[in-house]
Amino acid sequence: MSPRDISTRGDDAARADAPRGSGSAMLAFRLAWRQLRHEPSRLVAALSGVMFACVLIFMQLGFMTALLDSAVSLQLGMKAEVYLLNRTTEALWRSSPFPRARLMQALALPEVARVVPLYVGNAVWKNPVDGQKRTLLLLGLDPQAGLLALHGLTQGKLDMVSRPDTILFDERAKPQFGPIAQMLAEGPVRTELNNRRVEVAGMFAVGPTFGTEGHAITSEVNFRRYLPGRAFGEADVGAIFLRPGSDAQAVRDRLAALLPDDVVVLTHDGLVQFERDYWTQTAPIGFVFGLGVAIGVVVGCVIVYQILFSDISRHISEYATLKAVGYPNAYLSKVVMGEALILAVLGFIPGAVIARGLYALASAKIFIPLVMDVSKIVLVFSLIFGMCLLSGLLAIRKLRDANPADMF
């Protein structure tokens, strides 16, 4: 036992140990950096691998959250406290109608102030410029109901859809629908919806979702004109406004017990979650993007592991020498982990910058807003960090092959 080690066993052992531990970690980290820096081409190769994984994960997560956010943008703009849906409805864009009588039954509860039926259906829009036809999601409701609070939507505009064959149009709809906002600024916009003449009276903003490329709003009466096949007395979504001070969750529970089970009863949060769940679970999209993230992590793991493993293999005699002169295994493990962490950080930074550029490109080209927020940055960095950590831990097993007794 060297005198140095005996001294740390004294009363101040705890104090003496702490700086030694961090000092040795710092030295191991410096050694890791020197080793990586020595071969710039290998370092660049390793960093591109991490960067690639980083960009892949960012894109997958970006699309996934954009999907989930855009899928519920309409629901988030609905103002009622409780909602009814047909039990077989899976998502708004493909909802099944249910008897409007259920809404009337809901009025039996004293907490219910009023009910608003909402009609939802797909209609074919003719681009007024080139005649190209595209499908949009048409919403029909009583313009006076005050159900929708969407960006750019005013009561004045809603009043206009009471006129026959008049709609409000989604200004964030894909450009293939035509430059409607610009045309409206210059004069009246007239075209066809489901082969019936239509006039755009004003604009609001929702934007495309994964279910539809654009939205339009009109009155109940106009809705039936464009979708005449709809049975009278059936609605797609039932919005229930409660009296002030009512407990939405309690009312939901009582309504669920009261109404026949051809409808489901949801709170506002429940409605948003219902739509979100459809896209993450029922539709394979959530799974597909989740798989994309997993593949990114696996690819990154394999690349980092390969780099670290071959680094150890090529330097096995040097590592064995370090063991021979008295470096413990733990120190060499710190060196390998140091390399893994340097790769994680140096690969993540350019990866995030590239992903940011691709986000801007995607937002401009496909009109699905990809947002790089702090939570996403933290999540992706954690994944990359964990990926490098795991690769480092796997590569460390190779250090056991560095046997100092073989050095002679």
């Binding site: 036992m1 080793q35 020595h38 005699s317 002169v325 008295g326 100092p404 050095m407 002679f408």
Partner: protein, 240 residues
């Protein structure tokens, strides 16, 4: 300082297990005084490298007593052996320098085991040691830029810089031509004598026998009387 650098007795060592176990060391005893330079010779397979790894705490002692710098290695755990190695300087057949570190940084690695030492002090001592081996102008060179002899001198500096009580060297001249090899070993001898460091050096090389205070010969795992041509070296007896 009364205790010898190496005091080993009744060392037995076997590779393999059970019926197939092959004894490579049989009842070996060796003693090296502080500051003494001892050469270990013998044909290949005689067990000299095994003996060196036992003394260097690189391998667990199976049977017998092996005291190195006052520390009993028989029955010592891995941690004790790691600590024991830090008080020994190692020189290998190959220089085994870290290719991504400069000569100075390679030498300083032997000092980084004590993280409390200031970095400036580490580099200062490394430079002084490289100066002592005649490489004062090569401190910033990477090993790839040095000749074989220069690399081995860096390795000698690394083995000496942390002031070990004992140097273990395995065929340090094997990778060098006879002139360079002879120079390296004489340099090692001079520096060790200046510092009072004991050396146990395994070699086949008859041209460097004259650096030794004493020669120990192994054959088939046993210590045998040294060959006649080493008589002159033997007669000088232990130094220090």
């Amino acid at each position: 300082m009364d205790e010898p650098a190496i005091a080993a007795q009744g060392i037995w060592h076997r590779y393999g297990e059970g019926e197939l176990a092959k004894p490579v060391l049989q009842d070996v005893a060796i003693e090296v005084a502080r500051g003494e330079i001892v050469l270990l010779t013998g044909p290949s397979g005689s067990g000299k490298t095994t003996l060196l790894t036992l003394i260097g705490a690189l391998r667990a002692v199976q049977e017998g007593s092996c005291r190195v710098l006052g520390e009993e290695l028989a029955g010592a755990d891995e941690r004790t052996r790691v600590l024991a190695r830090r008080r020994i300087g190692f020189i290998f057949q190959q220089h085994n320098l870290l290719g991504f570190l400069t000569a100075r940084q390679n030498v300083a690695m032997a000092l980084e085991l004590d993280p409390e030492l200031a970095d400036a002090e580490r580099l200062h001592r490394s430079d002084a040691m490289l100066d002592a081996v005649g490489l004062g102008d090569k401190t910033d060179a990477l090993p790839a830029k040095l000749s074989g002899g220069q690399r081995q001198r860096v390795a000698i500096a690394r083995a000496l810089v942390h002031e070990p009580g004992l140097i273990l060297a395995d065929e340090p001249t094997a990778a060098l031509d006879s002139k360079t090899g002879g120079e390296a070993v004489r340099l090692l001898r001079r520096l060790a004598k200046e510092r009072g460091t004991a050396i146990l050096l395994v070699t086949h090389d008859p041209r460097i026998l004259d650096v030794a205070d004493r020669v120990v010969a192994l054959e088939d795992g046993r210590v045998v009387p040294a060959a006649p041509e080493t008589g002159g070296a033997l007669a000088r007896g232990p130094a220090g």
